[in-house]
Subunit: 296 residues, 2 copies
Amino acid sequence: MMKNLSSEFFLGIDGGGTKCRARIMTVQGKELGIGLGGPANAYQNLTQTQTSILEATLEALKSAGLTADSITQMIAGVGLAGVNVPSVFAAMSHWQHPFKRMHLTTDLHIACLGAHRGDGAVIVVGTGSCGYSMVDGKSLMLGGHGFLLGDKGSAAWIGLEAVKAVLLAMDHLGEQTSLSQLLCSDADANAMSLLEKMTHARSSDYAQLAKHVLIAADANDMVAKRILSEGADYLSALAAQLWATHPKRMSLIGGMSAQILPWLSSDIASKISTPMSQPEYGAIYFAQQKEKTFLP
Amino acid sequence: MMKNLSSEFFLGIDGGGTKCRARIMTVQGKELGIGLGGPANAYQNLTQTQTSILEATLEALKSAGLTADSITQMIAGVGLAGVNVPSVFAAMSHWQHPFKRMHLTTDLHIACLGAHRGDGAVIVVGTGSCGYSMVDGKSLMLGGHGFLLGDKGSAAWIGLEAVKAVLLAMDHLGEQTSLSQLLCSDADANAMSLLEKMTHARSSDYAQLAKHVLIAADANDMVAKRILSEGADYLSALAAQLWATHPKRMSLIGGMSAQILPWLSSDIASKISTPMSQPEYGAIYFAQQKEKTFLP
């Protein structure tokens, strides 16, 4: 089945630290196919990011019933983690990509465009955390500093604080907590080997531990509750800063969003709106803005 | 000049994350020579640790006027960072070393033996932080979890907290602080490129930033003062735990000890005693304990 008769298609790419999603639409806005690729954090690994984008695109072409060489007919909107760093944006822009044209922006920008089909604000709470607003062509980015230096309220940060709390409790320099039992059972470890195991762990490994903090907090563990409150207080403050830019809507997205929402202050939580579309749609919307070719 | 007529010598090795010191003495306690080698943290790099020990030993042999082959006459007391981790201790014990005999223990143990010429307690505050006591053959180790998970009050932790504070201030999610100016001038960076620069920095890079926190605190910067107070409160609590083991003396050692001492609680600060000898002497003392050959 050969569909590549029309001369152009829109390709939306949403690249993050663990995976990369691709979506293909006709210029008339008809959905053709989707694809998935590997990690695409341009800050962490530029070459791997490009490979993952191609991988996801080729899968999407196949799912759309298009041949691999139709890749040259794609007008790509590409939103990537890490390109908020100017040097990384520059390096990625110089990619000799196979697309007809490529429009590059941050993963936050396309998430925001997807969530609101235009201006608005998003708070991303997944492995990491950050906030973003885009209002009348002016953007504000907050947080997103990585779990070593920030990312408060994120799954990785919650997991990191849990390990710290267990180590303090082990030394009798912090309150005893049911997290000691929960984390050590999970890691099949005692506190000493938990330390050994987690010292060189990645943020995604720490993020896996966040579920135990939620469980412990539900069972009224004070240490777990303090961790979640501290993280949520940061996110509430971040939301207040974003509201100050007067976005028309605000969404909470990412893998921890449902779990952390009840911990946000009520005035912030009550004003959170459901995202309208996925980030890949935002990426296509971004490409359309740049091409000034809007869908009907 | 050939001195290697006696059949045995004591070699004391003090191995840490940045360097390794060696000291040679006769069995009668006469000092013969000293040497310096590279990093010797057995947890971080086992092969490099062994190379650094040999490097320091060969330099000490030379300074003692002994030939390189006298290395086989050395009874070595070796104190190393990282061998508190059981698997690392085991791996290091299997080293096919060139010494007559090797007695292995932690850097903390030899620091404690050196500081008190016997039982006692030490708080190490350098790049990292930890506490140790040895009383009647029972040891207690506290902290030392690395700057990602602990090491509160250490130079690396202080530097890390300073960068976090600058990033929060940049986002208007934390109090404004003179640290922003101090850290960015140092790194020849703005806050965004400071982040880029520090994301993959090592603990020793963060430790270099601690001096700015001391300067800012002297100038009454509240953020800097809070960082130092929080770190010092942890160290005071750690000291209280160590006193509970009833050591006869307690010393504060490491590159940050003089700077952090004024921030400790007065009851803790007033009971800090000056170390009697360097850790390499402690390493020799440890070997003598194991050999049951005490100096006169």
